[in-house]
Symmetry: C2
């Protein structure tokens, strides 16, 4: 069982002819609602690939019985939620105009409850963006920890980042995030890699790099027709972690993450085009050759 | 039975520390969802005052079974809806920052269907903001018509405004709206009053004026602690129309409208603090003296 800690969120993606000036209005020509939140995206990816997953999120009184709730149940995500009846489930409103300019309004909502929530002790946990303090407590109490600071990397103090990395077994970050971590901690990238042991740095459509001990492997992206890059990183983690608990070595896990992400970016939305294990395997073998048998034991 | 034609809408009212620049984001510190839409506000006011009311609106696939739907059923609004399963119920997103500056994004959504919807023939109808062409068709087919152009007054062509006023028995407008109607039609305010016969012009917190034939009456606002002026006009119309179908003379209807509005502005939201007939009567008698018996027959 993989546990994933972090946000469950609802994304309202709207198109407008133009973004409004202050004290003006505009009309929405199209609004789509997508299921999102980094942790929920990762959990949905893992569940769709067929692994057991528990999602630990803060949700509002608007969640139970909602379409998002039904979707999670349908794909088999186990929910371990802090329910805040008077708050909303975290919600993002993003408006894009005809020239591609955007404005985003993000409602943290129920996720405020992370700050005072009791941190669980878990055998295998991935920590996506959430409250830094809560993530620190989870990391300290858990056995095997994978960590991905996401855009919240800016909210981590030096002490928090130190605590969490001291308890991290696998680190995921993109180039901006690793740079910010180096700045906050005042250490080099290599020092961070040495501390955690296994680090994966993603480079958008340019592939990813795996660092283990003294080795370094580049994994090229799988070329697909890109519809929307949102959710690529989350689905990469879902693929990696699903493979990891099956016993695949880290380099194969990265390839499986890459292939999983290649499905998600072909459609708009983070959870709209997740592959099952078999679809993933077919595409894997087209690009990376035979998918060898795993060595059980990590899960 | 009073019919009300126009929008049912959902209002998301959010507070943000600052409004975002282009390609930036901000966080929402508070978001409240209110039931709105001019026609729905008026229908809710009428239903709460105890009159029979049918609401004619366009709604999306998100409406049936929603909290707004349950609320309408609870207060007894009869729904005569054009349901557009693939669209959203009209929705407004309003963001206000700490200095009071605002941005509004309005999704017309299902209301697009008014343009091609079949107009009903009604014995007593109030037309709130909706598609001008649809309102014209309703006005032409109906027996007794009350009309309130609202902020949509700018969308009416000279021909549409001419058609609708030729079929209007009672006109409601604020000062901006009547000025715009004069501009569009190229006629004086007095000419419009003469044409419709009964006109009520509201002046925000400064009361309202009733014009009938050659008489003119000023009705002062009821002094209350103002929380939110939104919905004042809609609840005024609800009070007026409820009284009118009971047989009260227009001046008394205006006073009842004024008293009804005084409740609504004491709380945030357009449908959160609607009075029942008895509460309205108690406050009426405190300010305007004994509420005489109506002369039945208008309804």
């Amino acid at each position: 069982m993989i546990s994933v800690v972090g946000h469950t969120a609802i994304d309202h993606i709207s198109r407008v002819p133009h973004l409004p000036e202050k004290n003006c209005s505009t009309h929405i020509s199209d609004r789509q609602i997508y299921f999102g939140g980094g942790a929920a995206n990762i959990a949905a990816g893992i569940a769709t690939l067929g692994e057991q997953v528990t999602l630990i999120s803060c949700i509002g009184g608007d969640f139970t019985g909602s379409e998002y709730d039904l979707w999670m149940n349908r794909i088999g995500i186990h929910q371990q939620f802090f329910v805040i009846p008077d708050a909303h489930t975290p919600t993002a409103f993003m408006f894009t105009d005809d020239t591609g300019d955007q404005m985003t309004f993000f409602e943290w909502g129920a996720s405020k409850a992370f700050a005072h929530a009791e941190a669980p002790s878990l055998p295998f946990v991935h920590m996506a963006t959430a409250d830094p303090e809560f993530n620190c407590r989870v990391a300290e109490r858990s056995e095997f920890t994978s960590f991905d600071p996401g855009q919240d990397v800016f909210w981590y103090t030096r002490e928090q980042l130190g605590t969490i990395l001291a308890n991290t077994d696998i680190l995921f970050a993109n180039q901006h995030e690793i740079r910010q971590m180096c700045t906050t901690l005042g250490v080099s990238r290599d020092a961070i890699i040495r501390q955690v042991g296994t680090a994966i740095f993603t480079m958008s459509g340019d592939g990813s790099t795996l660092y283990t001990d003294r080795s370094e492997y580049f994994i090229p992206a799988v070329p697909v027709t890109l519809a929307d890059p949102t959710g690529a990183g989350d689905s990469y983690r879902a693929g990696f972690l699903s493979a990891y608990v099956k016993g695949y070595p880290p380099l194969t896990c990265c390839k499986i993450g890459t292939v999983t992400a290649s499905f998600v970016v072909e459609h708009v939305g983070c959870q709209t085009h997740l592959p099952d294990w078999n679809s993933m395997r077919v595409r894997y073998e087209q690009h990376f050759g035979m998918l060898e048998l795993p060595v059980p034991g990590n899960g």
